[in-house]
Amino acid sequence: MKKAILVVLLISMFLIAGLGQASAETLELLTWKGYAPKVLVEKFEKETGITVKATFTNNEEMIAKLRATRGAGFDLAQPSQDRISSVQAKFKIYQPLDYSKITTSQIIPSMLDAVKKNTQVKGESHAVPFCWGTSGLIVNKKYAPEANDYSALFDKKYEGRVSYRLKRPTLIATAFSLGDDPFAKYGDVKAYKALMDQVQDTLVQGKPLVKNYWANGDALLQSMRSGEVYVAMAWDNGGWKLHRDNPEIDFVAPKSGALGWIDTFAIPAKAKNVEAAYKWINFMLRPENAAVFTNIEKCATASDGAIKLTDAAVRDNFERTFPKKDIDNINWYPPVPAKLESIEGKTMDKVKASK
Amino acid sequence: MFTLSPDKNMQTDLSVQNVTKKFEEFTAVDSVSFDVEQGRFFSILGPSGCGKTTLLRMIAGFTEPTDGIISIRGENMAGVVPNKRPVNLIFQHLALFPMMNVAENIAFGLQRQKVGRADIQKKTETILERVGLPGFAHKKIDQLSGGQKQRVAIARCLVLEPTVLLLDEPLGALDLKLRDQMKVELKKLQAKVGTTFVYITHDQSEALVMSDYVAVMNKGRFEQVDTPQNLYSNPSTPFTAQFVGDNNAWSGRLTGLSGNMATVVTPEGNSFTINTHGKTFAPDAGVDLFLRPEAMLIQPDPSMDQLNRFEVVVKAILFDGANSRLLATPLNSEKELIIGLPQNRQFDHIRPSDRIEIGWHGDSGICFPGKEGRS
């Protein structure tokens, strides 16, 4: 008898749960950690009645997830602008955006145009910009006052106090530190392969100096904070977060140029709730909301006018790190052509396997 | 200290002096002393929980005595671990190694003594022959019968030529027929190899059949150490009298004493005369009588005088071949007596409820000072 009651209870629980899910509209968001701050999610839910379910990941896994389902399972994704066109051409995981549904007036026009151009496949664009930032160095000035370029990552002075990701930004940065321009060789697979071999040698030689190849942003920040790591390659906003607590640690734009990235909004090919996706895009790019995001994550957005609404301390980060000439010096990622990924993959495997 | 046949020519293989073992508050073995001479078959007989296994494990070295000295061939064994003692133990369940075959089991101890390969093979063959298992070397343990396992276990120990072989009720797991057979075999084997055996058991027939000497153990103490014959005919304590062989216990009160012959009156009103064998009794003291079933004669010839005679009512006939008994009660009593029933057809007429006369001789009963007899 007790068992029967239990079974009935369980079934009814499932039913209620199922009904609950069916009645409320949801937005399945595939994004980066920090890109869906709680305050904004709650505000959006209040405004539209749509529940946001966010899954946090990175560029590579985002592509793999959408490729596995051929663009299903998520309503909105946030890949970097350089990782869209070649992936789209090959795997067809996104759908063209209907720009008439997007309040383009609130987006910085130059950035919108650049992203539209870079994400074009067969004459149709697939993304709008959301936020941008750079990769460069986070430096503890107390221990490494002279570190001002990627070459510091391979400097014997900092043996055991260096950390970076074993991911493609590091390969690109290493190439720049060698005085080369990897972006210029994007079109020439052979030349790019030769450059990557050089990069590989540099990374293998520098391997004894590395404390570890970081995989988790929070863990890296913890290592910087505890003084275990002096020089790291990482995103600017991480450095700024640390600077707030410890003025000796700051983000440094490398001499050979910080790497500029733009993360976008793109709608997967088999998205269920496209309307909600457009609503979220317009909501997040609204200046007052974009400013909230920037204040929390220390990351600039493509929202026109949002910068005026951000905290002075956050604005100060940009001015301190990027004087006029450094802004011009930023190397913006061009779209990655196909085939480069497997060259880079092998390079990274070899670096990791070397002793 | 019990002294056994004081033959000074024989070497003492095992000497146990005032050995005591306490487990916290419980005293398992209480100041036990005995000597075993070379080549003897010595048994320790007692009910389960009497401390005999603890005693054996102390001799083997698995347990250290709380007090007292164990010496083997004059050497004090205190602090000597089991694998360094010149004794071997045959376990209750034999503990043959199932992962090895018969030859490997037997070779195990020899290998530990670093005996050469050829020697091991020779010794293994010899010992297998000796225990009657020639050609069994490559059999697996689980292919052997109970009796064969028994012999392998004995061979495994004997091949090491221990000074003393300890046996922990090794026949307990066998069925009755095989047990009777193994008793005889074990005795013969011991006589042949001449190794000193110390055997513990709760089965009095095993102890009586095989042993040169038997120690009766109760509650951690030795009650009596003697030859099997003496134990049976002259038990020195009521416990021995009752534990070794069947016995009818009967309590009474001393009413008269002339020389060694005492007159005892039972609660049922029977008056018996019994030889005290020199034991002293206070006047009017309680007396415990022990009468063996075979000491009681059924319908004795009237010509035999000096018999204690009384009448019983037959309750049941317990037929068991040569070991048949009568179950009977004295008149006006609930007390049950077991009476030997010789199978010579002379008493075939006896039926339950019959009233018959029983007689026994005053010399064939045993008496001990007892609790106050009921009058």
């Binding site: 592509i63 275990e228 990791k352 | 070295g61 698995f62 133990l89 530990r112």
Partner: protein, 285 residues
């Protein structure tokens, strides 16, 4: 009556067969097909052994596999060496009323996810971690040292993660070991080492083999622990599969690696069984 029996059989068998087919066989078939497809010089997908040949032609791939396999064997051996005394203690030394409690203690770490366990180790071992703090406080070390990100730490983590899978089968075989066998061996003149080698290990062989297979496979297939605790030098074969799928977008190569892992690890286990003269059917029983 006979028809009834058959009906029952179908009733209970169908879900299992469906599960096997839909959840296990079908995806694997897909991966298998994928592993035999590769791009030719013109960028067209064609049938090819290239993905498998890549493994043998590119030293880094098979070297990584060899390294992973050797370390997995080492982890298995170390786990066994630690698990045997632990299991013996639980089954034969400690009072039976405590053995359940000790088993519970062994199980306890497995109530949290592997990720949490690994982060726990990282908090303990990192340069600014708990152990370093105490060693410096007690004056044993002048300054903290980095204990993470080397092979020894990675093996420590893998052994820790594998412990239970060795202890459980060992406990179940050791429970059936008659204590008097050990005493008999001791009585016949054996020392502790001989008892271990001649009595305890032969008796425990089925448990040792099944525990070793499980630990070996789990270690070989582990991804988190080598990656997080091993740091920069710990390329594990599973990571290479992950990289093929995620970083290089080469699912075909990744599937081929997956099947190679399956085949090669099965071969290693088969060789191990042959070498120790064990039979899988006996172990499974």
């Amino acid at each position: 009556m006979k028809n009834h029996g058959r009906w029952y059989l179908f009733f209970f068998l169908t879900p299992i067969l469906l599960w096997l087919f839909l959840m296990i066989l079908l995806p694997h078939m897909d991966l298998l097909i994928m592993s035999f497809r590769a791009e030719d010089d013109f960028g067209e997908m064609v049938w090819s052994f290239a993905n498998y040949l890549n493994f043998f032609e590119e030293p880094i791939y098979w070297a990584t596999f060899a390294r992973t396999a050797l370390y997995s064997i080492l982890v298995t051996v170390l786990t066994f060496i630690i698990a045997l005394p632990v299991s013996f203690y639980i089954t034969h030394v400690v009072a039976p009323k405590f053995s359940g409690f000790l088993m519970l203690l062994l199980l306890l770490p497995f109530w949290v996810s592997e990720l949490v366990r690994v982060y726990g180790w990282m908090i303990l071992l990192r340069e600014s971690g708990v152990i370093n703090h105490f060693l410096v406080q007690m004056g044993i070390l002048d300054k903290p040292v980095e204990m993470l990100y080397n092979d020894a730490t990675m093996i420590l983590g893998l052994v820790y993660t594998s412990m239970l899978f060795m202890v459980v089968p060992l406990i179940s075989v050791l429970e059936s070991l008659d204590k008097s066998l050990i005493e008999a061996a001791y009585d016949l003149g054996a020392n502790m080492w001989t008892i271990l080698v001649r009595i305890i290990i032969p008796h425990s062989m089925p448990g040792i083999v099944s525990g070793s297979i499980v630990v070996f496979m789990l270690t070989l297939g582990n991804y988190l622990t080598p990656n997080l605790m091993g740091g920069k030098n710990s390329l594990w074969f599973t990571e290479q599969i992950y990289n093929q799928f995620i970083a290089s977008f080469n699912w075909n190569q990744g599937s081929a690696f997956g099947f190679l892992l399956l085949i090669l690890s099965s071969l290693i286990i088969w060789a191990g069984l042959k070498l120790t003269g064990q039979k899988l059917s006996k172990v499974v029983k």
